[in-house]
């Protein structure tokens, strides 16, 4: 190769990665980063989107949101819904993973159960919502079984009474989401070296001691990163709540996403909705930074 040719191929080599990445970067830049800037802009305008020449509003829309008791109620419901979901996803996922990993069950049975235990994960949020609406209908199967067993005296309107609605949607979401933990923890369990347990056996460790001193510490990185992701994603849940309760009755299941959606597309107050969307974005970004720092530290 001549020197000229070699330097040309080196130049190609230097430019090539940017060319390969350019379609993705253009799409992410134009359709993700730019809209994020746009929505922040909207939140400082009057009649954003609806008018061609919106006037500057300052912090008015943020003040309006922070003065709205429904916003604070939505934030509270979001926190309850998210924290309960993540804690139970983790607990159920852990219990199922440990059970399926036990050498006391037949390998064929184990494989069948693994497939069946993952099932809730395969269904889209809308379908999960419809299934739980059928199960929890006042005349539905859950009520009739509970009445037969004498656990409840009369039919409960799970999704349409303010006392139970939030618990009911949270329960449906817990059911829908544990398999992510289960699958990840099962993979993690299989990665723990067998010698750890053999050494513990020689020292005469009990089963619970092995769980606390070997299994859980070994799984900790998975538990933390999945919990963070689950937290971020659960906080953003929309369709499940939209289809089961629509945020009602009387705002009792209103979460930040349904609150924002209604502001934007029921009241057409897109400026205030943008302010609320920015608040959600900031919370998510904060958690994301935390997640990325954790991943890098690993």
């Amino acid at each position: 190769m001549t020197r000229q040719k070699r330097s040309r191929s080196r130049l190609k080599r230097a430019v090539a990665p940017y060319l390969y990445l350019s379609p993705s970067l253009v799409i992410i830049g134009l359709l993700m980063l730019l809209p994020m800037v746009t929505v922040i802009g909207y939140s400082f305008q009057n009649s954003a989107v609806l008018r061609r020449d919106p006037s500057f509003a300052g912090l008015k829309h943020y003040q309006a949101i922070f003065a709205d008791p429904v916003f604070w109620a939505s934030l509270g419901h979001t926190l309850y819904f998210t924290c309960m979901s993540v804690v139970f996803h983790m607990t159920i996922g852990m219990i199922f993973a440990l059970m399926l990993n036990s050498d006391r069950i037949n390998p064929i049975l184990r494989n069948i159960l693994r497939v069946l235990y993952i099932l809730p994960w395969l269904f889209t949020a809308v379908i999960i919502a419809v299934i739980w609406r059928l199960l929890l209908e006042p005349n539905g199967v859950v009520n009739s079984v509970l009445i037969q067993l004498g656990i409840i005296g009369s039919k409960i309107e799970w999704f349409s009474s303010p006392e139970t609605a939030l618990h009911a949607v949270t329960f449906a979401n817990i059911w829908a989401g544990y398999p992510l933990f289960m699958v990840s923890l099962l993979a993690g369990l299989q990665g723990i070296p067998k010698d750890f347990y053999e050494a513990a056996d020689i020292d005469g460790a009990k089963a619970y001691q092995k769980l606390i001193f070997i299994t859980i510490p070994q799984l900790m990185p998975i538990i933390i990163s999945i919990s963070l992701l689950d937290f971020i994603w659960t906080m953003q849940v929309f369709p499940l709540i939209w289809i089961t309760t629509g945020g009602g009755p009387i705002y009792s299941t209103e979460v930040l996403s349904t609150y924002t959606y209604k502001l934007a597309f029921s009241s057409y107050n897109l400026s205030q909705a943008s302010a609320s969307a920015v608040v959600i974005l900031l919370i998510s970004l904060g958690l994301t930074l935390f997640y990325i720092r954790y991943q890098k530290a690993r």
């Binding site: 230097a14 990445l21 970067l25 730019l34 419809v130 539905g140 699958v183 990163s225 990325i292």
Partner: protein, 280 residues
């Protein structure tokens, strides 16, 4: 070593199997109920006491769904949009992943962080500016609006998934192409793509599922019944015939078929995609 076959040990094994059965009931009963309800008549669904198996097995709910062109259109729309987005996403993500996997360049680390962090951007935050864009470009209520917006959400995952896969492939092969005087472009198509099929399949599966499940943007960026996708169709069905639960369940079963089929036929690829965002 654990002592086997002591009474205590047997008791633990029995207790474990009881717990497994309870877990199975928790996981599978709602789905079982959806499936059997779709084969029941509407009156039987609410029969007292509830019937575990359909007493009068009927396909009337499926006939009602499959005989209605409006509902078939929902399915067509969902498949069409999901296929289109999957093809575009896999192509674009493959190029980006190749760049990430085979080159060192300035800004690589920060671009990678950027792509990881875009996974957590709340859809509701992008919804309002997208609505503004879609209206001003006059693509409201079109396939283009859905395809373009879905692409933004599928791309980051697809890039991470493909990069992870390409990183597992040995570099000797594409270096051999370079020694023979080929460019990185020929190496990509002649060498990398043929041996990346498992990664491409996993990425396609995951992308397809993300699109198939999408609700918020389909709800907001389309309006006419002929543009609606399956999730919105189910919601519409619930509004129109609030008491025809058997039809809603039949529609849900039909709407879950792609996921169930992919899961049963290609479990490995499915799980690879579903855990991609988290394990990395």
């Amino acid at each position: 070593m654990r002592k086997r076959n002591t009474p205590k040990d047997r008791l633990i094994t029995v207790a474990l199997h009881v717990a497994l059965a309870a877990g199975l009931f928790f996981a599978a009963f709602p789905i079982y109920w959806m499936l059997t309800s779709s084969f029941k008549s509407n009156t039987e669904i609410f029969a007292l006491p509830p019937t575990i198996l359909p007493k009068a097995f009927t396909l009337e709910a499926y006939a009602a769904i499959l005989g209605d062109p409006v509902k078939l259109r929902f399915f067509f729309n969902s498949y069409f949009v999901a296929f289109a987005v999957t093809v575009l996403t896999v192509l674009i993500a493959l190029l980006a992943a190749y760049g990430f996997s085979r080159f060192n360049f300035r800004g690589k680390g920060s671009l990678n962080t950027l792509i990881i962090s875009t996974q957590t951007i709340p859809p509701i935050t992008l919804l309002i500016p997208f609505f503004g864009l879609v209206v001003s470009y006059r693509i409201f209520d079109t396939y283009i609006a859905l395809i373009v917006t879905y692409l933004v959400f599928t791309l980051p995952y697809a890039i991470l998934l493909m990069t992870g896969y390409l990183n597992t492939l040995p570099r000797d092969l594409d270096e051999a192409v370079a020694v023979d005087g080929g460019t990185s472009w020929t190496a990509l198509w002649r060498v990398i793509v043929p041996i990346s099929l498992p990664g491409i399949v996993a990425t396609s599966v995951y992308t397809f599922l993300l699109c198939w499940n999408e609700f918020l943007f389909a709800l907001t960026l389309t309006k006419s019944t002929s543009m609606r996708t399956v999730p919105i169709g189910i919601q519409l069905l619930m509004g129109q015939h609030a008491f025809e639960w058997n039809q809603m369940m039949a529609m849900s079963v039909l709407g879950s078929l792609p996921l169930l089929l992919i899961y049963l036929l290609a479990q490995r690829f499915f799980l690879a995609g579903m855990t991609a965002g988290s394990v990395k």
